[in-house]
Subunit: 343 residues, 2 copies
Amino acid sequence: MVDVRQDTSAHSLHQEEYAATLASILEARARIQPYAHVTPVLTCSSIDAEVGRNLHFKCENFQKSGAFKFRGACNAVFSLTEETAKKGVVTHSSGNHAAGLALAAQIRGIPAHIVLPKNAPACKIANVRRYGGSVVTCEPTMESREQTAKKVQDKTGAVFISSSSDERVMSGQGTVAVEFLEQVHSLDAIFTPISGGGLTAGVALASKALKPTIKIFAAEPLGADDAAQSKATGRIVTLSQVNTIADGLRTSSLGALNWPVVRDLVEEVITVSEPEIVHAMRLCYSRLKIVVEPSAAVGLAAVLSQRFQENPHHLNCINIGVVLSGGNVDLDALWSSISQSIQ
Amino acid sequence: MVDVRQDTSAHSLHQEEYAATLASILEARARIQPYAHVTPVLTCSSIDAEVGRNLHFKCENFQKSGAFKFRGACNAVFSLTEETAKKGVVTHSSGNHAAGLALAAQIRGIPAHIVLPKNAPACKIANVRRYGGSVVTCEPTMESREQTAKKVQDKTGAVFISSSSDERVMSGQGTVAVEFLEQVHSLDAIFTPISGGGLTAGVALASKALKPTIKIFAAEPLGADDAAQSKATGRIVTLSQVNTIADGLRTSSLGALNWPVVRDLVEEVITVSEPEIVHAMRLCYSRLKIVVEPSAAVGLAAVLSQRFQENPHHLNCINIGVVLSGGNVDLDALWSSISQSIQ
């Protein structure tokens, strides 16, 4: 049984090399506990039968604001001093970090300025507004996002909270793994989707500290495979363009603070095709009966992939944890069709 | 705190009048415990804020076979003697009882003959086949369903298990309420969808025995409002036709064994329109992030209805339990649209 209260100094992970540690992750857990959900873990015997392994799904689509991003944002917002906090926070984000940050700021009672690319899904923009965030739209390029956020920052004095490359954010995301290992002691491996790398780095740091034998896999769309390329070449690779249905994974490079963790502690970055993502998404809806966004299904797609299934080194990964990262997705096509059917 | 191990003979409910009792429901619970999921209860602060009450959603869409129906079917199948069981079971059902019975029979290792109306959703037919049920299709009328089932019964000697009007089935469905009251002690009311009445009757019997002050509401589509008409006239009303998107609630009358319970223990049958059902369904997807079938959303639609919200007698129903009955729904329109988007 995993005991998260153990003396973390005893671990041989040299965690001082990384921006976050098990200690900072456990602090984050205590800090966000009054506000965040402990999300449930679901299992499905019919999927297990098909895969030949025992899958455990950590449902971060049920997290506040609809995605794990609330954890990191909440930890960052509640880490600020009163003095700093009152000027508010600012970020640029493809959507879920934006909503998470807006909600965390709303709970603390401070302003949140959110720079959103104009092609963000409508439901994600609506979430930001529902949580009282003040939305500034920009072009869907990293340059435009960064410039626009800088302008807001200069004007308001708000603190910039990166969507992934931030110790407080990384520590917050790591709380997913602390919970997960308490809920399922037997995990041999955990799969997370990877974009900026905050979730993967936080989960890897917490998991390896609590259970050194565990394997951490990152899953990425082929059309935005910067993490896989980075892992292959040993340095951060930045893509000039990305193309995937997984809107939460469209960033072009890993965050600088997350990269060393991904480099050292992640077993493998597994890339999956768009049809593989849609197939995995469909399994979540039809078998698990849950709503996930495309980005959330990428981890399951990687577990189902030939590359993982047929790798003899991974045959001992029997109990597999899959982080379903979020559930913010526009289902307009579904509602149009259903509304027509009742006319 | 509710203690389900209390002496059930002390209750003043005169449960001997009804086909099931708290005792038979607790027996059912022990019988199905090795096979059925204890389904989670979800909450959603944004829906609560809109409704002005605290809603607790009992997620039977996560139950084995995708609906609460597995509970009753499993209790029935495992109540049979070895001698009787080996000839198999037969039923007619619009889908979820069929799948639940097929799965329960598969677990016990006996044949299941399933008579399905030919307009049953494809996913429900697929579920029956996945669980090894032998499918016989019929016309979508009660007469055709009953005649076809009788033929199978005569030919095979299989035991007929009604989808709702059966003591074993009613007791199995009642286990929903026993679990629910253990998970949320503070419930003032429980809403269930109503069709044949097995779920409503089982939930009412268990709930009133465990917590006599609780109010039980049944929710029904306007296009299949036989229970509301029965409640209003004081006798079982049979409809000549039904028309609703809620395919699980298309039966034309209450089961004879369930009627006395609905008559005596159900506070009110609230009817809802088709657009109200779709709106509630959409809230489940967009806020709770779960997949429910139209029938499952009818309880939430009733909670949201003016008729309930504006009734001064129900102002004291603050903590409300809503049974989300199942998640077996064809989402083809969604998958077509998503598949096109990645071409």
